[in-house]
């Protein structure tokens, strides 16, 4: 009984410590991605993922990849709950990021098109993006 408790306690402590170690640099790099987005080196894509539009450091590149992997996991989870494809969820999220997240001066890309810089006008969304919601 005591032994079990001890094992759990050690396990929890290790998990907590790992979590602390993991989150601190991840947070710092996430700020680096935001900075790269402000510079137009990283941008949102209509496919629901981040893309690299300019020259970025290896750290930013790896953080973008990490975010995209986590996004894919979140899309996969939601797709399973709703009975739709991962691409459907990703595309719907892409509609949202392009319509309400990308700020003026930041870059975005639709499909295989060129990177474009958002101006003061709203981004012309792909036709599959619903107007409602």
């Amino acid at each position: 009984m005591t032994r079990t408790f001890l094992t759990i306690a050690i396990g929890a402590a290790v998990a907590l410590a790992t979590g602390l170690v993991m989150t601190a640099p991840a947070r710092a790099q996430s700020g680096a991605v935001a900075a790269a987005m402000a510079e137009g080196a990283v941008g949102e894509q209509a496919d629901g993922y981040l893309g690299i539009a300019g020259s970025v450091s290896a750290a930013v590149r790896s953080e973008v990849e990490s975010i995209n992997i986590k996004r894919r996991a979140a899309y996969t989870d939601l797709a399973g709950k709703r009975g739709v494809t991962v691409q459907d969820v990703a595309a719907a999220t892409g509609c949202q990021t392009l319509s309400s997240r990308v700020k003026a001066g930041q870059v975005y890309r639709i499909g295989a098109g060129p990177w474009q810089t958002k101006g003061s006008a709203p981004i012309a969304l792909p036709s599959y993006c619903a107007t409602a919601g």
Binding site: R27, A34, I67, V84, C95, K103, A130, G133
Partner: protein, 62 residues
């Protein structure tokens, strides 16, 4: 004799006075709801996507 005549006349009248024919159409009746359903899926997903973004701010830096 008289009775039979009346019955025969009745049948004749029925035959002459247009029967209503109900006939199943050759082609199946199709009601296309695909467009509406697809639109609803997209709208519902848009809301889900909004929630996903709001609930995972670390995945959506700005």
């Amino acid at each position: 004799m008289k009775k039979e005549t009346i019955i025969a006349a009745g049948f004749a009248g029925l035959a002459l006075g247009g029967c209503i024919q109900v006939k199943a159409p050759d082609k199946p009746i199709e009601i296309n709801l695909n467009v509406k359903v697809q639109q609803e899926v997209v709208v519902r997903l848009q809301r889900d996507a909004q929630d996903l973004i709001q609930n995972n701010p670390e995945l959506f830096p700005q």
